[in-house]
């Protein structure tokens, strides 16, 4: 984005829902068409704002799960049981509805192929969404930056983007993807079991000597445990970038 003016105005836009895809029973990806969208970088997010008739407003941030695609922006939303906004987005919003959002936001938790690698992507639950934008961008650009992705889920039913990730792991050179389940695994599960702890990272993350750029995203406890374990293993803290979603994945 060389040559882009530094000063920006961040204004609320009224976008239209143009697509929705159920990724799992609790997770839905929504695609918005945003008039005037300037494009975005993988890792950036949008703020969504809902307004009720009595004037009550609620606002949340959602990572963009896709690389730049004209005026189209896709976010992957996990339906939280008590979620005021997430339940609206997953239960009420239909194709053709309009929604207020603003963005793109973010400059720290951002990756594009020109930043190089090797690239480490470590995500817990819905934290995989911004990492997916990075991985999709890497693939779409035909980049040869090697990638090691590690995704942590509670159960096999919670795995988002399962088919696409399997296809990428199979077809793209230099991309390895490992899933681990922390709560329970079905018979015949060929992935890992257990938390992303120091042991798992010593086996699956890039060795620190290769000086990877590592992005960690998900629930706060997950992100801090992983980042801390990476530092213990000898990784340079300045090359570990983090995005915390809060107590239950955001």
């Amino acid at each position: 984005m060389a040559g882009t003016a530094v000063l920006r105005r961040l204004t609320w836009a009224i976008a239209e829902v143009v697509d929705r895809l159920d990724e799992t029973p609790r997770v839905r990806s929504l695609t918005f068409d945003v008039p005037g969208w300037p494009g975005h970088l993988p890792g950036q997010h949008i703020d969504v704002r809902l307004t009720a008739e009595d004037g009550y407003q609620a606002q949340r941030s959602y990572s963009i799960a896709t690389p730049a695609d004209g005026t189209r922006v896709t976010s992957t939303v996990e339906r939280l049981e008590d979620g005021e906004v997430s339940t609206y987005l997953t239960d009420v919003l239909e194709i053709g509805d309009r929604i207020e959002l603003r963005g793109p936001i973010g400059g720290y938790f951002v990756w594009e192929p020109s930043r190089g690698g090797p690239l480490g992507l470590i995500g817990g639950g819905s934290g995989v969404a911004p990492l997916m934008a990075m991985l999709r961008a890497r693939v779409a650009a035909g980049s040869d930056v090697p990638v090691r992705m590690l995704c942590s889920w509670r159960t096999a039913e919670d795995v988002i983007y399962a088919d696409e990730l399997a296809a990428i792991a199979r077809d793209a050179d230099g991309v390895s993807i490992t899933h681990t389940l922390t709560r329970s695994a079905p018979d015949g599960w060929s992935g890992r079991r257990g938390r992303v702890d120091r042991e798992a990272l010593s086996q699956l993350a890039w060795p620190p000597e290769q000086q990877p750029l590592t992005y960690v995203c998900g629930p706060t406890g997950f992100v801090e445990a992983v980042a801390s374990a990476l530092v213990d293993l000898g990784h340079d803290p300045r090359r570990i970038l983090t995005e915390r979603f809060g107590p239950t994945g955001g």
Partner: protein, 201 residues
Amino acid sequence: MTFISRGFRRRQEADAPTNKLPPGQYVTRDFPVLSAGPTPRISLDDWRFELIGQVDQSRGWSWQEFTSLPAEDVTVDIHCVTKWSKFDTTWRGVSLDTLLDGVQTAAGHVMAHSYGGYTTNLPLDDLRGGKAWVAYEYDGEPLESEHGGPARLLVPHLYFWKSAKWLRALELRESDAPGFWEGYGYHNYGDPWQEQRYSGD
């Protein structure tokens, strides 16, 4: 012209008799956790509560001493400045009347000090007369650290930011001074019934 989101409304959590709900509040059955900093971890061996400042004599209690004081079980409604109210919360704690009994002071003001550095200010009168406690049990259980345990100040007639979590000391003062949120634009007194959320309200 604000854009209205089709079919969006605030999550309706519970009904409340309208005379129990201060203006601008809604009722919740949750107990949201809000804080200004990391949850301090204080061992009961190290814990101490002190009454300091403009007093004839500073007083301090170890955990053993504090929990041996006469305590009360109270049921109160609490109101957060972020607009949630929770009815009929049950606590066990030592009344400020008990703690201040025999204390001689010319102070009219109090600064509450928390482990971790949080502060909030109140008039001394608002701690007297059966209106305030140092609470160490909530809902029949030891107060969890995320809700302010081992012990927190409980002053239900004011917005709940005045009920300092992780209470370490009450400093009696002759002059008033703003605590943490008061210094960042929140109301110096904080009466929910007058909707005193922000400075100038």
